[in-house]
């Protein structure tokens, strides 16, 4: 069993993707033995109206909710996010995705604190996207800097039990913040973990219980995440934890 914690659906504005609808993603998943994928709307990165983006996602996964599990994109720096969150809860979403760089706030922003408090009250997990795409390849007139994580220790200190995934970070990041992970519900996905057997280095830094299988498909080749697990030579409980155990626990 493999749960992919990091997939999106919808047309990427800057490139034609082959597998950006439900049928395409499910086809990729079938080919690689992926049981379930957590999905969010690409539109949530770019729209102002998050309710519309989240609604589009639900339309897209209709009939496939057993395998495509929807996460709502919420923007705490935009008025009315409280209602977006409420609607998302009623509509069957299971967690919240945040894009602080695309939505122009940082981890120290008090509005983020308010949102995380509300997410905690719902007993939901939250995923923070460090990077959607390498900055060097952004559109000429849409240069979005990566998320700064200097404020992460304060966030974790304030919300120690909140299940939180950071998507798109590296094993070097894991080493830098290794002291933060013990006893928390903090996770890193492997979608941008590079280096030779880099996932093994990530596991060594923070423990397998804090690492999630995540591919960033269909923007990335889904197979990259599968091969990274193979490259790391992980076996037994560590491998199972990363492939599905942690994800299952995280969604409660």
């Amino acid at each position: 069993m493999i749960i992919d914690s990091n997939c999106t659906l919808g047309p990427w504005p800057f490139r034609r993707l082959r597998h950006s609808d439900a049928a395409g993603l499910l086809g990729l998943m079938d080919g690689l033995g992926i049981t379930q994928a957590w999905v969010g709307a690409v539109e949530g990165i770019f729209y102002r109206d998050m309710a519309a983006a989240n609604e589009q996602l639900l339309e897209r996964i209709s009939g496939h909710e057993d395998r495509l599990v929807p996460w709502a994109v919420v923007n705490p720096a935009f008025p009315g996010w409280e209602e977006d969150l409420q609607e998302a809860e009623q509509a069957g979403f299971v967690g919240v995705r945040l894009y602080p760089n695309y939505h122009a706030y940082d981890l120290a922003d008090p509005r983020l604190g308010d949102l995380l408090g509300a997410v905690k009250a719902l007993h939901w997990p939250v995923a923070i996207y460090a990077r959607v795409q390498d900055e060097r390849l952004h559109h000429w007139h849409m240069l979005v800097p990566p998320v700064g994580f200097a404020g992460l220790p304060q966030v974790v200190e304030r919300f120690p039990d909140l299940p939180m995934v950071i998507c798109g970070q590296t094993w070097q990041f894991a080493q830098q913040f290794r002291g933060l992970f013990a006893g928390t519900n903090l996770y890193l996905d492997i979608s941008r973990c590079e280096g030779v057997a880099g996932v093994a280095d990530m596991v060594q830094a923070i423990g397998a219980d804090h690492v999630l299988f995540g591919s960033h498909a269909p923007l990335f080749y889904l197979e990259a995440a599968v091969l990274k697990i193979q490259e790391a030579g992980l076996e037994g409980t560590a491998r199972e934890a990363i492939l599905h155990g942690n994800a299952t626990r995280l969604l409660g």
């Binding site: 490139r15 034609r16 993707l17 082959r18 597998h19 795409q133 390498d134 900055e135 060097r136 390849l137 952004h138 559109h139 000429w140 240069l143 941008r192 973990c193 590079e194 280096g195 030779v196 057997a197 880099g198 280095d201 498909a217 269909p218 923007l219 990335f220 080749y221 889904l222 197979e223 990259a224 599968v226 091969l227 990274k228 193979q230 490259e231 030579g233």
Partner: protein, 251 residues
């Protein structure tokens, strides 16, 4: 046969060369990568002086010596030191069994200092692996784009060039070299963005795409998946993963 055209053996802090080589070979084994072409040194030096250029090539030679059936050396040359570069080609390629040349970022690829190096590469039938990137955030002043490589390649029609990173901005890089048949894009050194390999096959053909990873900075897996995970035929994958490179290198 799967051959990676582009790795650098850079140890973790505190790790010996032999340990880094073992860790690298173990990862290659787990992914079925038979051989890897090694270039540069134990660390990245943007402007290597003569001593550093010698040291970096010696590092590659001692890496290859650790596993001569798995590692293939590429001679790191510098257009700032053309005479020394020719000496290094004699020492490491003619007498030492290295099978390619590496150009990195100390000058733009079209620098005149590269001409003597390329003339010798033509005589010996050595492919030239040349760094290219187009960063919307800005290149280093001496960092080549695919356009610089095209200029050099037009001056040396009898040399086969491997365009590292397919230009970084691969949609641009592939278009730039599409009609320059002796430039071979490699697959490595950026995120495994879906569509890369399919576009490369459509624009330059599977016969002109070469698998590389840019390990040890990059993951072998993330770069290999660009090929194995692409919607192309098994024959095309075989060409990209090793057959093309085997054809480009002298025996």
């Amino acid at each position: 046969m799967v051959i990676d055209c582009h790795i650098h053996l850079m140890p973790h802090p505190g790790e010996t060369q032999a340990q880094a080589a073992r860790r690298t070979l173990a990862a290659m084994d787990r992914l079925g990568i038979d051989k890897a072409c090694v270039s540069l040194g134990d660390r990245l030096i943007v402007q290597p002086n003569a001593t550093e250029l010698r040291e970096q090539n010696a590092w590659v030679a001692s890496t290859v010596a650790l596993a001569p059936d798995r590692f293939i050396g590429f001679v790191y040359c510098s257009p700032n030191h053309p005479e020394l570069s020719l000496e290094l080609i004699e020492e490491y390629a003619v007498r030492g069994g290295f099978r390619g040349i590496k150009l990195w970022v100390c000058q733009l690829a079209d620098h005149a200092g590269n001409d003597a190096i390329c003339r010798r590469a033509a005589q010996l039938g050595l492919p030239v692996l040349a760094h290219t990137w187009v960063k919307v955030t800005g290149n280093m002043p001496t960092e080549s784009t695919p356009d610089h490589l095209v200029t050099l390649a037009r001056r040396h029609p009898d040399v086969n060039f491997i365009m590292a990173h397919a230009g970084g901005d691969w949609e641009r890089g592939l278009r730039t070299v599409r009609h320059v048949p002796h430039i071979y894009p490699d697959t490595c050194g950026n995120d495994p963005e879906a569509g890369f390999t399919e576009l490369a096959v459509a624009l330059v053909g599977a016969e002109r795409l070469v698998f590389g990873s840019d390990a040890t900075g990059r993951s072998f897996a993330s770069q290999l998946a660009k090929v194995t995970g692409a919607d192309i035929t098994d024959d095309q994958k075989r060409l990209i993963l090793g057959d093309n490179l085997e054809r480009l290198m002298p025996a």
